[in-house]
């Protein structure tokens, strides 16, 4: 089975979001981004290898940078990176095939569930579910914290007047966390959901 076939049959653990949400005033929007291609790259040579592939390397731990095709890269350790492709980005599809045999780093496919939280009620949603004060967090810097008891990475991003939040977490918690956030978002002024990508 080649790579494109394996992607085409993958299903999002959050696919219920598209059918279960009610789109009204968009106080909070939940979008399922779980099917975006994701990789982790770890090892002493990871940064230089990614740089050779044209990836702009975040200089500080937990910082992020956009990828040229719309994705992003986050430095999650001194020698550890997390990459996510953009919606129409195929640049990461063959990442694992281009690793030299004697490389001192390892690329690993990541299957994290991923959410995009948008809207003016985003902070209210986190205020009810997360102990970390996200309103004080800098943009484009990942935060590892808990949301509704689930360990998550949260990346605040600038988006017009209101920030948006990218959330990654273990897919085994996808149904629980997705339903919990959708319920609270609905109570905050009805939720909006975008189709899975």
């Amino acid at each position: 089975m080649n790579r494109s076939e394996s992607v085409s049959i993958r299903q999002s653990p959050l696919q219920f979001l598209a059918a279960g949400a009610v789109a009204t005033n968009r106080a909070v929007g939940l979008a399922d981004l779980s099917l975006l291609e994701k990789w982790g790259v770890k090892g002493p040579g990871a940064a230089s290898w990614l740089a050779e592939r044209g990836v702009e390397i975040p200089q500080t731990i937990y910082a992020s940078r956009p990828l040229s095709e719309g994705g992003l890269v986050v430095r999650v350790g001194s020698d550890e990176f997390f990459l996510e492709a953009g919606q129409l980005d195929q640049s990461l599809a063959s990442l694992g095939d281009s690793v030299p045999a004697a490389a001192d780093f390892t690329p690993v496919i990541r299957e994290d569930a991923a959410l995009l939280i948008t809207g003016c009620g985003g902070l209210d949603l986190f205020a009810q579910t997360c102990g970390h004060p996200l309103q004080q967090s800098p943009m484009d810097q990942i935060i590892f914290t808990r949301v509704a008891g689930v360990s998550c990475g949260i990346l605040p991003q600038s988006s017009g007047e209101e920030p948006q939040y990218r959330v990654w977490f273990d897919p085994s918690y996808a149904v629980y966390l997705g339903e919990t956030l959708l319920q609270i978002a609905s109570e905050l002024g009805e939720a909006a959901s975008e189709p899975s990508v």
Binding site: G131, H132, I143, F144, T145, R146, G149, S151, C152, G153
Partner: protein, 95 residues
């Protein structure tokens, strides 16, 4: 809400942490082989509960960070936290 200062991620609520037990010297396999049953039982089952500052392992679950905390087990106040190999560097005092 009780706040613990993770040396990597900063101040976070207690709910994000897992207690990993006292920091203790782990005997080598040769030392274990030379132990009597009483000595092994003492190592396996007994802990020092005397009042004062205790060094402990704590784990920040969302980021996967293990670190050392010095905690006053009388007041349950965290005195300082630091990574295992950075005990001699500046650390955080959460009082």
């Amino acid at each position: 809400m009780k706040i613990i200062h993770c040396p990597v991620n900063g101040p976070r609520p207690l709910q994000e942490f897992y207690f990993g037990g006292q920091l203790r010297a782990v005997p080598t396999s040769e030392q274990v082989a030379a132990m009597t049953d009483a000595e092994w039982s003492d190592y396996a089952f007994n802990r020092d509960g005397s009042p004062g500052i205790q060094k402990e392992w704590w784990y920040h679950t969302p980021s996967g960070t293990w670190f050392i905390a010095e905690r006053d087990i009388v007041t349950d106040g965290f005195v300082r936290t630091y990574l295992f190999d950075q005990a001699d560097q500046e650390s955080h005092n959460d009082g």
